[in-house]
Amino acid sequence: MVRTLLVRGMLVGLVVGLVAFAWAYFVGEPPVKAAIAVEEAAAAKAGAMDEGAPEVSRDLQSTLGLLTGILIFSTAIGGFVGLIFAMIYGRIGALQARATALVIAAVGFTTVVLVPFTKYPANPPAVGSGDTIGERTGWFFVLIVIAIVAAVAAGRLIRDLYARWGVGNAVAAGLLLFAVLIGVAHLALPAENEVRTGFPPQVLWDFRLANLGTQAIIWSLLAFGFGHAAERALAGKPLLGRRAAAGASAPTT
């Protein structure tokens, strides 16, 4: 069953990635191109030398490259959702398969996307400095790890309180703990602001919305798609099709 959930998570992630790619291509690429144009105009004005053709052409980066990257990411996230589902299903109260998938995706989107976005928001190409990229990447992942630890702590608090306080109060206490921990992390981690004066704010805004949209598509469609796939797995049904699997009585573990 664990393997089935893992494989289905990855398959749903792969399909979801196609939708996310469509969004990223049509909504995300225009501000990416605009940002690169700003960079090139600035370089030309400064009389800088042309860096020469990139190893991978821009046309390839914005189509096949974009598709490849998003599919790999989305498939991997789907796999993690499947593994986490196998770990917590049946262990968080009476939550059924679809509700469990929804909780995983909501917590995942919050910890992996929203929390880092509030401190280190996505930037279009040409905004960041090459000298600080290692540092920025490091703090970005540190904040994701902190957010995951904070979410686990909040989950444990909810579990410990809920018998005495009821679900509503326990969840409220858990959310408060999460907010406090993230607030402390915000204050403790260094600020990174790479956007230089004069960069068109509309391009930045469009790009950041496109980034949030891409991630929102991945996590929300995973919540519903994987919830459906996991429910069918638990009922011994194949991923697609109406009939029950012939080997439903002996599912893979």
């Binding site: 096949l64 490259g65 990411f73 593994l83 990447t137 970005f140 573990t253």
Partner: protein
């Protein structure tokens, strides 16, 4: 359905409609170690390879998935 979930009073839980865990932590561990590692590598490949750190030489990989890295929100150039 679930093979080895005798840790909980399974029959009782089934009757009350409370879902039964699909695997014990011990059964889950190898999946987390192997699949978790491969999945982390995949995310690293898109999110950080040759941006901040590099396993493969050259910059073709970095450049190929470059737009995805930006639009997924990873720090880049």
């Amino acid at each position: 359905m679930s093979t080895q979930t005798a840790i909980e009073p399974a029959a009782e839980r089934r009757e009350s409609g409370v879902p039964i865990p699909v695997a014990s932590p011990r059964e889950l561990l190898p999946y987390w170690i192997f699949a978790g590692l491969v999945l982390m590598l995949a995310i690293y490949f898109v999110g950080a390879e040759e941006g901040a750190t590099s396993v493969f030489s050259g910059s073709a990989i970095h450049e190929l998935v470059h737009d995805a890295r930006h639009l997924l929100g990873f720090p880049c150039h």
